[in-house]
Point group: C2
Chain length 364, copies 2
Amino acid sequence: MKESTTLSEAYKHAKYPIVGHGKRNVQVLKEALEQYDGDLDSDMYGSGSIIDEFQERMAELLGKPTAVFFPSGTMAQQIALRIWCDEAGLRKVAYHPLSHVEIHEKDGMKELHHLEPVLLADETRPVLLADVLGMEEGIACLLLELPQREIGGQLPEYAELEAISAHCRDKGVKLHLDGARLFEILPYYDKTAEEICRLFDSVYISFYKGLGGIAGAVLAGDREFTEQSKIWKRRHGGDLISLYPYILSADYYMKLRLPRMEQYYREAKELASQYNQSHAIVTIPQVPVSNMFHVHVEMPKEKLEPILVAICEQTDIGFTSWLREIDEKSCVFEVNIGDRYALLPQDKLREAFLLLDERLRNGA
Amino acid sequence: MKESTTLSEAYKHAKYPIVGHGKRNVQVLKEALEQYDGDLDSDMYGSGSIIDEFQERMAELLGKPTAVFFPSGTMAQQIALRIWCDEAGLRKVAYHPLSHVEIHEKDGMKELHHLEPVLLADETRPVLLADVLGMEEGIACLLLELPQREIGGQLPEYAELEAISAHCRDKGVKLHLDGARLFEILPYYDKTAEEICRLFDSVYISFYKGLGGIAGAVLAGDREFTEQSKIWKRRHGGDLISLYPYILSADYYMKLRLPRMEQYYREAKELASQYNQSHAIVTIPQVPVSNMFHVHVEMPKEKLEPILVAICEQTDIGFTSWLREIDEKSCVFEVNIGDRYALLPQDKLREAFLLLDERLRNGA
């Protein structure tokens, strides 16, 4: 490799990248489609057995009366918030300052639906009961993201969650679950999806995070809610004539990977522990509560980058494809455990961690 | 078949259905994917060679500086209208009363973007220069759908189109093309896509009508326009991590079927002529100007339905899968010519038309 190899290039060509399930390429779809007969009829604008049956199974899994397949979570969640606001005759929704809705959607919720966010908690921790008890009046819906991705995938304790849910019900505030990574937290909570969803009025799940599908989401709730969500889905331009490429891959990878969530969680704890034994590194959370965590390194981004590239060249282990600068002295990256971790040669991984520790101690 | 067979069932099981390319089933996607290597990287939230290269080719084909892939035309067109309205500081857009935006999108344009429609022309004919000359002030954008699907795929004459375009440019009204079936009208106009698009400020095309892809659309225009459209695409929830299932199938079926548009057009004229020779039937347009037309039958829907079912049983020819009632005396159905027409056994088709004529003459 050339000296100018970027971290992203090094990771892309690494023999043993640590993060995720595998490459996001066309083979992912081909593999899924091989499981289905060619003469299976397409869904047609939200109807047909291919979508109906999947939606029924998702409703059952989440313990809700009905579920609707969406092309994206961005669309599904804005719509959920809009429905709850319209029902309450209010415009305010509460969520964490680093919610997907707030930072990754170009303000779609505000620009298209004219809803106003009320931000709870801060960038170091998830929303807790105290935040909810202190909420202002006039809020139609509280959105909780479990786990809170942008802060390393932190979670409130389950009892805290139950108390938040009880309080919201008491106050008539709807509770919506951003469950993009819902299945990834079941082992930590030691609960079923249905048990967790019972605490919420509406639930969104995603098929391309821990499940590793192509794209797509489901929104679940009672029938009146999901029927309204279909109207908004049409308005958003999400009621495609055919969503089956996403539905079939969601179906296939879900069957494949739901049973592996316990393993990913265990491996995440194991890997985080290795990181925490390295000089100048802490993970957040220190002990992961899902398959993910953030790795905080006390070294400037531009100094750490060539170190990770060099270790990748020497050991074939790719720690990460990108670093985000926190300040002049430190940076962070995200780790998600998927199918790849179990396939890593342990000797290579040990060697990579020894080198990482050594380089961080030497400060270069 | 049982006596109670519905028209839709009869058509579905017909050996020789007349309309379209073929069944919309999973094989359509499998066939497209077979053309592409599994190790081709997915697009990632609107970036990557798979989407970039396709967008570049579409921009070139349409003669516009840039093009953006969208999951749906509903999304693409609302966004186009919103951008032109914001730029003009106006809220009004003009279009035909049977535009897709007006009748098939649950008022997304009004509910999400708060734009106001000004309806031009009527349900018997497309928008003409006289309508545009008579337009009220304060209109940001005129949308023309070519061909106008809901009235049988009618078109204004090309000189009329040029005059409308010149007038809009003169008045500072943006002209947007709903080109869901743009390629289907090139043979009649005897123009390239680029020549037609030159008359418009922005253009939308669809990949699952005459081209027969899975889903998806492209919006094309100048760079400032398409860059803004990407922001709105994110807001709408259409900036999926992976759109390649639609992109690859659009690419494949476009290569396959763009060269066949002349053939579909010729066959549409041939078939319309057969319908027009039948008793109590007229097609609109009488001579098609694309691969589509509507068949108006002077017979009540509930009387015609069993006739078509019976002809289907006897000849294996499926004329249509549905009828729409116009009034107590007459009904209509739509015909789109695709790959199927060329494969019809001519003797069966003749037999079916003879039976149809006879049954319509007998009035039962």
